[in-house]
Amino acid sequence: MSERVNEEKKSPAPGKSGGTELDASSGGGPSGKPGKSGGSPVAAAKAEAVLPTLGPLGMLRWAWTQLTSMRTALFLLLMLAVGAVPGSLFPQRPANPSIVTQYIKDNPDYGKILDSLQLYDVYSSAWFSAIYILLFISLIGCVVPRAIAHYKAMRSQPPRTPARLSRLPEYGTLVIPAGAGIPASRAIDDAAGLLKKRGYRVDVRDRDGARPSIGAERGFLREVGNLVFHTSLIGVLVSVAIGGLFGYSGQRILVEGDTFVNTLVGYDQFTPGTNFESSQLEPYSVQLDKFQITFDRESQGKIGQPIDFQADVTTRESPDAPAQKEVLKVNDPLTLGGTSMYLTGNGYAPVVTIRDGDGNIAMQGPVVAKLQGDNYYSSAVIKVPDAKPEQLAFAGFFLPTAFVTEEGVSFSGDPELFNPQLTLNSYYGDLGLDDGSPQNVFELDVKKLTPLNARNLDAGGITLAPGATYTLPEGKGTISFDGVKRYIGVDIHHNPGQLYALIFALLAVAGLVTSLYVNRRRVWVRTGTHADGRTMVEYGLLARGEDHRLAGEAVAIRRLLAGAWDLDDGGSQSAPSGGADNGRADTTLPGAGAGAGAGAGAGAGAGAEQDSPDHPAADFIQSTAGSSESQKEQ
């Protein structure tokens, strides 16, 4: 972008008339330093190529131009793509800290080196941030000047009529017979009217002169779209940053019957954003009434796979708000108090009652069993710090449908509760919970405990079916397996940037589509009266940016003009090269000839003097964004 903008600044007179570009130097080598020389652009470019002493300010300006050049943008984009890749090759801390630790342990030779290169935190690493920050600075440096230039262009008249329309990529002529009674001035009015109707902004020049012409332009939205697109990308980035600052997320496990209240203590795990304050939490509550799973019973090879999860919940917006029945499913979160709650996990929670050596109930309730293998083969850990005189602990497995192989290995044959079984070892001793240091509830450290039940002990292990009770050896108490409940794991997220990210993303797409499919075009028409009384009309079209439909537009305009004047133009789009009068390129106005030899001087339209002889219409030739093959290859 910047190149073009600068180019416009640099180009002499036409620059003011609203963005005519200079193909010759646009974006070329020493990319658009704002040379003040009013001379020809080529000369300016040459002067810059010598690189005189710039001084610190000049250097800064030079660096800025470099940074905001299209080439740099492209380079940074490609860097961004390359930089994102390692994040998919190595485990990432934010997603999985424990895997990263393991990975470093497993690869002692290079694991640490990768860490020092921040390859486990790619997306927050210094180098990745550098790439995208530079990219976005470059983006701002592009968008702002370009927006200003476009604002000016939208308010100025279409550029002056080129001396030789025939040099434009689309060119044609029409001849109105002498008898039709349409003089040059009326022809130009007609053309202006037609183009206006077609959505062009039209400027009539020299209407009553010998050679009236119009300049017309349309498609300003293209550039607007491009600007909106790029600006919206900044918006997306900012929204993501806001989400990180003010958002929070947390997790909670809910057994059927449990209620979650949205306060800090309600969470099992909580990750606040940088600027989080606990007053942000709205005290809504969610109670899990029932959790249902449908298992696949018909797909070949997939029998027993869950195909539907449904959690029936009762919610309250606030402690004294009315209760509401809702359903929480995968892909269908609950939204409450500015947060969303997602169903992310589930499993079984066997309900047990444990009496201690004194005969009192030391613990009663569901125990969340952690999934370990197929068909809900889960591990269970029960810690009973309240048991007296000795604290008790159990560790083992829960199987919804227990099978035992001949070798005595048990496994779960089905995810549903056809033959639930709890197999446990038991321990007693000091659980180490009293000093308040946190422990993982799913793990039991048995080092300091004395085993009571285990397969290798005389007492053997404990195997319980629902309803059964087992009496521990040495009078340490009893354990009963009362039944099974289900539990779910939920994630709760609050991301205030999310909505804005969506809005900006939608804006970006709208801008993108606009900028790709609106065509910015210029049309010039010039008329004149031939010596024999015929009115000669010539027109030329030029596109700014990619425009593969320019030829089609030329045909359409030609058809409109021919229709307005009742000319027999063959009617078809394959041009009437045979028709002597209304051929496209073979009849030309004097003084604005198509042939290279036709003098640019005498009698040419306004501005012809400015054209240097060797680049007659250079000012009007679009900076070819995608240049032609010959330019590329050399």
């Binding site: 070329g28 299209m70 080439r71 492209l74 984009l77 490609l78 961004l80 793509a81 994102a84 994040g87 998919s88 990432q92 997603a95 025939s166 040099r167 434009l168 990529p169 689309e170 060119y171 997320s249 696949d296 018909e298 797909s299 070949q300 090879g301 195909i307 995968v330 892909n331 997602y342 992310t344 997220h493 999310q498 990210a501 993303a505 797409v509 993108l512 790709l516 990619e546 425009d547 593969h548 439909r549 320019l550 030829a551 030329a554 789009q573 394959s574 041009a575 090269s577 496209r584 390129a585 290279a596 679009q622 070819t624 964004a625 995608g626 032609s628 093959e629 010959s630 590329k632 290859e633």
Partner: protein, 373 residues
């Protein structure tokens, strides 16, 4: 949830095999067309050389027509393919497609029409090939539809289905483009790829009809994946065109430098510039599609996992692809980066698409690991 219908599933597999068989015959016909045409064209060329004086005389007429020419006569096309339009006229790359290519090496050793319109000349093998491809696509469509009925849902929930449906979409998009443009020179590539995909699906990724895991049960699956597959099909076309563009550029240079034309069949292929321009236009459409893929994926991720972006491997690669093609669009607007370099970016972008689809789906762990393996 609709019940599974295994009979339909079996019909589907039969259709897929039949489609692959039909494509194979079509592939042979496309290859035959390339071989045969390159021979005929050489003969035509020799004749043209003799008549070159006459041809030159016609150029002015053709030039007048130049810019918007879509004239049907092959002979005229050949003439104006070489020299079109007023001398030295500014040539917009994309608008120039319509008029053949001007003023550069395109004319040398060139036969195919830059506008990629059909010429009057009959290419019997090519017609047979296209007819067979249509037949194959019809059978393939039946396969995809019976699969959908058998599973009671959209047929893109695992690798087998991505491949079979993806191959169908690639062929269908190719056939649709064929209505407007003569891209039959891509036939061997597209049909060949479809065969590979079908065979890979049946051999390596075969999966019986089944229900979706809950994570995939969402209307976003329908929206997000269908757009991704469509965009990928378009990227497939542009990949082939960009690859041919590189070959054609090389060939044009060799011929311009007086070298021998060793790749006769490339005469069937339009000039490098025409290829570049058309693939740019298709890439622009596909890029919009990919932007939607990315966005809808993010929206879905928000619904399913509670965050719209988490740098999951699949997300990373979708992003990388998006950025590479954004780079491609930029390259087209950057001096010194058009032509060959842009073509390379288009190729790299497509390789990323393939990588994302194959390696990432299979070997990378992530939340997206539900490819049915």
């Amino acid at each position: 949830m609709l019940p599974i219908n295994e009979t339909m599933g079996q019909y589907s597999e039969l259709f897929m095999l039949l489609a692959a068989g039909t494509y194979t015959v079509a592939f042979i016909a496309f290859a035959w067309d390339l071989a045969k045409s390159s021979k005929t064209l050489r003969a035509v060329d020799l004749k043209a050389a003799e008549l070159s004086g006459a041809a030159a005389a016609r150029v002015p007429v053709a030039a007048g027509v130049g810019a918007s020419s879509s004239s049907a006569a092959g002979a005229v096309d050949r003439a104006d393919g070489d020299v079109a339009g007023p001398v030295g006229r500014a040539e917009r790359p994309t608008s120039s497609v319509a008029g053949g290519s001007a003023g550069n090496a395109a004319g040398i050793g060139q036969t195919a029409d830059g506008a990629m319109r059909y010429s009057a000349e009959r290419r019997a093998p090519a017609r047979v090939a296209v007819a067979l491809t249509v037949l194959g696509a019809a059978i393939h469509a039946a396969g995809v539809i019976t699969r959908a009925i058998g599973a009671g849902r959209v047929p893109w929930g695992n690798m087998y289905e991505f491949l079979t449906t993806g191959a169908f979409v690639a062929v269908a998009v190719f056939l649709l483009v064929l209505v407007r443009r003569d891209l039959r020179f891509l036939g061997t590539f597209v049909v060949g790829l479809a065969i590979i995909m079908l065979v890979a699906a049946s051999v390596a990724y075969w999966t019986p009809v089944g229900h979706l895991v809950p994570a995939l049960q969402s209307y976003w699956l329908i929206i997000h994946v269908s757009i991704a597959v469509l965009s990928s099909a378009l990227f497939t076309l542009t990949f082939a065109m960009s690859a041919l563009q590189l070959v054609q550029t090389h060939r044009q240079k060799t011929i311009a430098a007086g070298g021998a034309d060793k790749l006769g069949f490339m005469r069937l292929v339009p000039s490098a510039l025409s290829l570049e321009n058309l693939s740019y236009r298709i890439n622009a459409i596909a890029f919009v599609g990919w932007t939607f893929t990315l966005m809808f994926g993010a929206i879905w991720a928000e619904k399913a996992w509670g965050r719209f972006w988490g740098w999951d491997t699949k997300e990373v690669w979708t992003f990388v692809i998006w950025v590479v093609y954004a780079g491609y669009l930029h390259a087209r607007a950057t001096r010194g980066w058009t032509g060959t370099r842009a073509a390379w970016l288009s190729i790299v972008g497509y390789l990323c698409v393939v990588f994302n689809f194959t390696i990432v789906n299979q070997f990378f762990n992530g939340l997206h690991s539900y490819s049915g393996l």
